[in-house]
């Protein structure tokens, strides 16, 4: 066993942090674009009364939930250009795969939240003579939001962990940076340990912030 010298990790810390920033950026983009925007659209499509809308959304969600992200990412990057002729950069492919993956997961959470509001609320709104838009805005959505936000916030840690998988496409994330630095310096233990500690620290922050936000949201509406 060789002596460990962590000064090399200190020296290359900026490179590792730059990679970590890519992971954080992907997490944020995945959560906002995938979880909130596309996830809500998919949930709405899934709850639609028209089969033409509902079925494609259902198939999309099941396909993206039951295949591994790694396969989705390489499929996006290598197979899609062959099918459509559109070539995307590794970062774009990785982001697209992540957004679709997160959207499929979150749409189920959002759908469950809307269904969790209960039929009686819909009926009561209708009995009061509220138009469709107002009954959604005033009655259904405020209640659904309370059910949906805590578990939605809880997915951010899974998204952060998933971004590490995207390093198989050549994007400059934490793992890419770590393997580049470790092959330059021949000190894998110091570099990978530092990378793992950095990732754990960010993951812990996300988890703690998520717990805090969940508790705050639950109390705020109780």
């Amino acid at each position: 066993m060789s002596d460990l010298d962590f000064s090399v990790a200190w020296e290359y810390l900026p490179a590792l942090l730059e990679g970590l920033w890519t992971n954080i950026l992907l997490t944020a983009l995945g959560f906002l674009c995938g979880g909130i925007v596309l996830g809500s659209l998919l949930a709405a499509a899934n709850l639609s009364r028209y089969r033409v809308v509902r079925w494609p959304a259902m198939v999309f969600v099941e396909l993206w939930r039951s295949t591994p992200l790694l396969v989705q990412a390489i499929w996006m990057h290598f197979a899609v250009p062959g099918l459509t002729g559109i070539v995307t950069s590794p970062f774009q492919s990785a982001l697209l795969a992540l957004v679709f993956n997160v959207a499929a997961y979150c749409s189920e959470i959002i759908r469950a939240g809307i269904l969790g509001v209960g039929r009686g609320q819909f009926e009561a709104a209708k009995a009061l003579g509220l138009p469709a838009f107002q009954s959604w805005r005033l009655v259904i959505l405020p209640q659904a939001l309370r059910l949906v936000l805590p578990p939605l916030v809880g997915t951010t840690i899974s998204i952060f962990k998933a971004t590490a998988i995207l390093s198989i496409l050549a994007i400059n994330d934490l793992i890419r940076a770590a393997s580049r630095v470790s092959s330059q310096t021949f000190q894998p233990v110091e570099i990978y340990t530092t990378a793992a500690v950095l990732a754990f620290a960010v993951g812990l922050l996300i988890t703690l912030a998520g717990h805090w936000l969940e508790r705050y949201l639950k109390r705020g509406w109780a």
Partner: protein, 218 residues
Amino acid sequence: MSFDLALLLRYWPRLLEGLWTTLAVAAVGLVVALIGGALVCAARRSPSRAFTYPAHAFIAFFRITPEVILIFWAYFCIPFLSGARVSGFWAGSLTLGLIGAAYLAEIFRAGIETVPKGQWEAARAMGLPRYPLWRCVVLPQALRFSIPPLVNYFTEFLKNTTLLAAVGVSELSLQAYLLGGQTFRYVEFLTAIALVYFAIIFPFSLLSRRLEVRHGQS
């Protein structure tokens, strides 16, 4: 753009080889996860802090740190630290097993804690000793509560086996990627394996949903 099925027919033995590796990784990882999960759960529920604190730390560490980094660490650092040679297969599947243990420990614990207090009290009132109390009263009920989340975690676990591609284990996804590079036809191979993964994972995901619904009703 045509979809060349002949290509798949020519190379299917290599894909099948990849599938076997994937299943072997899953089998090794699951055994480690089940045994490790039970042990960590026992430690987590222990009355002594000397056990609960390490169990807490183990669960938090393995649930929070991204899987790929742990696999890289095991693959590159253990040989360096110990001098032992570690193959990607063993480094990866044992790491996945430890990660699984952290998740299963929490699933088992939730299952045990769902058993109503009255059951414990009734068993004690009947004078059941510790071993029959666990074997005949608590565990059968706790396991039944644990099965839906277990099946659900199993689908996540199967997806995680692809991560071994990162350390060069030629499981299904890496085989397909390599074949794609070799033949310059990624579409066929990558679509084929996506469908294979779907065919394996989707039934389990349906099963876990059905089990959950049945539970919700009872």
